[in-house]
Symmetry: C2
Subunit: 120 residues, 2 copies
DNA sequence: CGGGATCCGTCACGATACTG
DNA sequence: CAGTATCGTGACGGATCCCG
């Protein structure tokens, strides 16, 4: 959420656009995750990108961050109600993409990659 | 549509991600548009970006390009069935963004910009 | 009218190393 | 464990000029 929007679509893309946000979002569903868990679950992301994206999502009100004053440190990230409402949006987007892939030449699905079953 | 996808969401973002694609898409609905029309309707886009995005969308099977062998040249762009199906996806995304804007501090809507009423 | 070609700046993204 | 700091790169987006 940065400047003025002339349409809700811009806001939506601003908030979940980019390479990682939506992946993180659906890894945060349905339960809270620790930083280390996310790092493992979001395959291929670097720590820098993960913390950066999480910060933006916290600032955008999609994710809640809870730090426990312990040693060793523990931080849990969870979805806010706004973040949860986004999830209902991701489902049809994922369905559309899946249909698109199979109609446009099924060769492009990646069978050996870990099955991301919670998509859809 | 470039590499292998592990999830439909990646495909969706690949196809309508970026700054311009979804704006062009909904300007193409419900009727075909000429290149010059699009250039005026998609406020702020340069010719280079417009033609570049259109080409990608044609390659991705979302948009159909029809050139008339006339002088002066005339080219019309329209949505393919796949492109039309995307429109049903954009509507909820736009609604979500609008709700997000008003809940997160209504100052971020842009009143003086031309009302993009066909959104939603 | 509907493009194509070229040059260029920015920034999203990434690799690596270090820290409380 | 959960970050922070630094550096590098390429794709994305824009400006400008040219063409059939």
């Amino acid at each position: 959420m940065r400047e003025a929007y002339s349409c809700g679509l811009e806001a939506t893309f601003d908030v979940i656009g980019g390479k990682w946000k939506f992946v993180i979002l659906w890894r945060l569903h349905p339960e809270a995750r620790r930083f280390g868990e996310l790092k493992r679950l979001v395959v291929g992301i670097t720590e820098k990108m993960l913390i950066q994206q999480l910060r933006e999502m916290v600032a955008d009100g999609l994710v809640h961050r809870r730090a426990y004053p312990e040693i060793p440190p523990r931080v849990e990230y969870s979805l806010t109600p706004m973040g949860i409402s986004l999830k209902d949006l991701l489902a049809p987007m994922c369905e559309w993409g899946s249909r698109y892939i199979e109609q446009m030449g099924g060769k492009d699905l990646c069978p050996e990659s870990e099955p991301q079953t919670e998509c859809v």
